[in-house]
């Protein structure tokens, strides 16, 4: 089997990238480990999806179904219940700036495994990484204490309730205030379980403000901000969680208290899934844990693109679709250019010549992409490390400001987009280095 593009992941990102590629006439196939399309969406049975993209409020399954229908109508092949074991580049010169690189046929060879179709190889000219993310777990944040049954990541609990039909516990404490945790606080409450508290170590919640209102406030669930989890207690099954307020950054153990419960849900952040990317030799950005990409969302491996939560963690699925649509379109550009192109048309390692690097400066957690094209209009995604009511996003080349945007309601849990118009960067030297910053602004 041979395709122009192989798309790893059938979630919102993978489907949107595939639609974008198919719309440009390129053959592609989508692979996913699960037995259904939509990635995490089918277990997100709450509403709130699609407001930006479709102008209406959909549930996760509804949102997924819309994309799935389009994928089916476009005749895009999908391999479900299938794991990508590896993706190899049999000849690394293909697709690179080597003279032979103009011929990208068979540039990548993927090994797929499934219980239905067995072990197979698929050849493709390009790859879109859209594997989504995984949940940070107890070990990652080093919560001490006992190791009883009853500790779940929020997404696993969501899967157990919404797909498998089992209630993981009846009296829960949720550690971390990520969106899935907040959604699960409401879901557990509606399923007859009692949510005793949400405990967040930071001074502010990490989930969306609307979820704090709709999932905690509406159900009278207390949110303990600036509280550390000291330990989980329970021999066989969880019996409680010991927490303490933070004073000057350290837990004040004299004021520690235990919240009795039988279940602990962890909602302490997501990490882009990049085991496959790393094995392919794709360099990662340590700030996002996703691939490091240029302005075309292409990784440092020519012909490999990344989008969605595998690239960086998004707040809304609508934005995942937007980014993946662009990734698909950039991949199409690349496929079209590499067909019969001359070696001189692309820069070294496949990265566009003349891209200007962007560094995360004051209050900026990261930027995606890591470099910008001087010639085009483009979108930069970023997140603030601190909350502020009003702020100013700024791109500077040394002392000179090349782009700025006023922001309001800046929260670490919400993404910030800077739409940089064509021409804004045109006057910069090729060796310029941009720095992105967000400065708080006083209100009048």
């Amino acid at each position: 089997m041979t395709y122009d593009a192989l798309i790893v992941g059938a979630g919102a990102a993978g489907m949107a990238a595939a639609l974008s590629l198919a719309g440009r006439g390129h053959s592609c196939a989508i692979v996913d480990r699960e037995g259904f399309m939509g990635g995490i969406l089918p277990q997100c049975i709450h509403s709130g999806f699609g407001l930006h993209l479709f102008g209406e409020e959909l549930t996760g399954p509804e949102f997924a179904a819309r994309l799935e229908t389009e994928v089916a109508l476009a005749g895009i092949p999908t391999f479900l219940n299938t794991t990508v074991l590896s993706i190899e580049r049999p000849d690394p010169a293909r697709g690179s700036d080597d003279p032979r690189g103009s011929d990208t046929r068979g540039a990548f060879r993927a090994l797929l495994s499934s219980s239905i179709d067995g072990v197979r190889r698929v050849e493709c000219r390009s790859v879109v990484l859209a594997m989504g993310s995984r949940e940070r777990n107890r070990g990652n944040i080093r919560i001490a204490g006992d190791r009883p049954a009853g500790i779940f990541t929020a997404g696993l609990a969501q899967r157990l309730i919404n797909v498998d039909g089992y209630l993981p516990g009846k009296r829960a404490v949720i550690i971390g205030s990520g969106d899935i945790g907040l959604i699960m606080a409401r879901r557990l409450s509606l399923s007859g379980a009692k949510v005793e508290a949400v405990v967040e170590i930071a001074r502010y919640p990490s989930g969306l403000a609307r979820n704090i209102a709709q999932c905690l406030d509406d159900f009278g669930i207390p949110l303990y901000l600036s509280h550390a989890t000291l330990r989980i207690v329970g021999k066989d099954r969880v019996t409680g969680v010991e927490v303490a307020p933070l004073v000057n950054g350290a837990p004040n153990v004299d004021r520690a208290f235990t919240i009795p419960c039988d279940t602990v849900l962890l909602s302490v952040g997501l990490i882009p899934e990049n085991e496959l990317s790393s094995r392919m030799g794709v360099p990662l950005n340590p700030a996002t844990n996703g691939a490091s990409v240029d302005s075309r969302l292409m990784t440092a491996v020519p012909g490999v693109f990344a989008c969605g939560n595998a690239l960086h963690i998004h707040d809304l699925v609508d934005r995942v679709v937007g980014e993946a649509t662009r990734a698909g379109s950039f991949c199409a550009d690349w496929l079209e250019r590499s067909r019969g192109k001359t070696a001189g048309e692309r820069g070294s390692g496949g990265q566009v010549l003349g891209e200007i690097s962007v560094r995360a400066g004051k209050n900026v957690r990261y930027t995606v992409p890591s470099s910008l094209d001087r010639a085009r209009a483009q979108t930069l995604s970023t997140r603030s490390m601190v909350p502020m009511d009003h702020g100013n996003f700024c791109l500077r080349d040394g002392e000179s400001v090349v782009f700025e945007k006023k922001l309001s309601w800046v929260r670490p849990g919400e993404m910030i987009f800077a739409e940089i118009p064509e021409g804004a960067l045109g006057a910069l030297r090729t060796d310029a280095a941009l720095e992105a910053s967000i400065d708080p602004e006083e209100t009048a």
Partner: protein
Amino acid sequence: MISDNTPFDVAIVGAGVSGASIARRLSRYRLRIAILEREADVSFGVSKANSGIVHGGFHHASGFLKTRLEIEGAGMFDQLQRELGFPFRRCGILVAALHPDEMRAVEHLYSQGLANGAPGIELCSRERMLALEPKLSGETVGGLYAPSGGIVEPYRYVFSLIESAKKNGAVLETGFGVSTASRVSDARSGETVWKIDSSDGRSVRARWAINAAGLRADEVSRAFGAEDFEISPRKDEYFLLDKLAEGRPSRVVFPVPSSVSKGMLVIPTVEGTTLIGPTADPVPDKDDFSTTSRRLADIVASARGLVPSVSERDVITSFAGLRPALGEDFFIASSSVAPRLIQVAGIQSPGLTASPAVAEYVKDLLLRDGLELSENPSYDPIVRAPVQARTLSPEDLAELVAKDPRYGNVVCRCEGISEAEIVEAIAHGHATLDGVKFYTRAQMGRCQGGFCTHRIIGIIMRETGLSYDMITKRGGQSAVLEDEL
């Protein structure tokens, strides 16, 4: 089997590394053997959480029983691995001195090792140490190298020993917590035998009993009316680092030991992760497997001293194990109080290393005390190691999947564990989430079960017919799901 009127020849209390080794050793003879385990699965006590090291024979002074058994046991692992197929590798052990003052202690270990007969032991310069392990700290001034030292997956070792013993006729009873033991007369033979009762009402009769009950060897000894001693649990805390961690050395790295412990080590496990730890803190409670944030910080600091590239960012989980401390040496002897009872107590480090020799030693005690041992002609030492999809070439995997499609379904993405491997674990009796984890490694990787737990629950229910509320993390009251929607 348990309702059969004929008493067993030998009942072994405890299916940890000692009990399992003894059971397997004795299964070579024409004996009826019962293995009685308190937990829901074998290896769920002391043997589950430890450093997993086959030691180099230099840490203990000659004269101790444990020193002799350590050297003898370490030498027996190659053949055991050939027969049983558990993960084991002689990667070598280093003791790194980070200060010239520590070299005196290293020299002491070296001469101790020589006296013990530790194979191939070598006193090393700084340059030699850094050549043997380039990831060692630049502060290293010298050290010791024990090339015969190695690493083993302790639970997989125990699982394979039990499997071998069962294959040769031994009977395993799990969830069998010994409450009392008494001498009764066997109606058929007229012989006085042990009647061993479980707290849930089951009972087993046996002519001989072996107390290999680990943390509870003291309680079991009292239940048999034998010696009165006290096992003092000592807690070991560990961190496990991701397979991609930069801080993975190629050999086991020890610090220079203190008077109380061997110190905190950096261990490259056979399966590719890196283990750092342990601490060694006495605790009053035999059920206290909790980790403490303070000690975990100590572990990282200590590990970084030896291997600077060890990073907190790579931590995927932490856990604690308990050592059954009882004096300075192993206590392995025929009870001087109760008849026909062998005590195998206080088996802390190097108990894993010594285990094959402990089994040999116990066999000799039984023989001396009058148990007749005649070779079992149908004894089969070989246990087939489970097939692991992740280790196969694409061609071999394709062939296997064509025969059994369940090998093509990757259930645990982090460790690459197929559905067929999970089904096999369940078929071997490991039907709890932890049992599946220790047998297959599913849920042991970087997501720690976030993606595959629900799938494994489904497979256990399908394979065993258990309902959702019977699915436990590790048996007993550790139910995973509380209700159905």
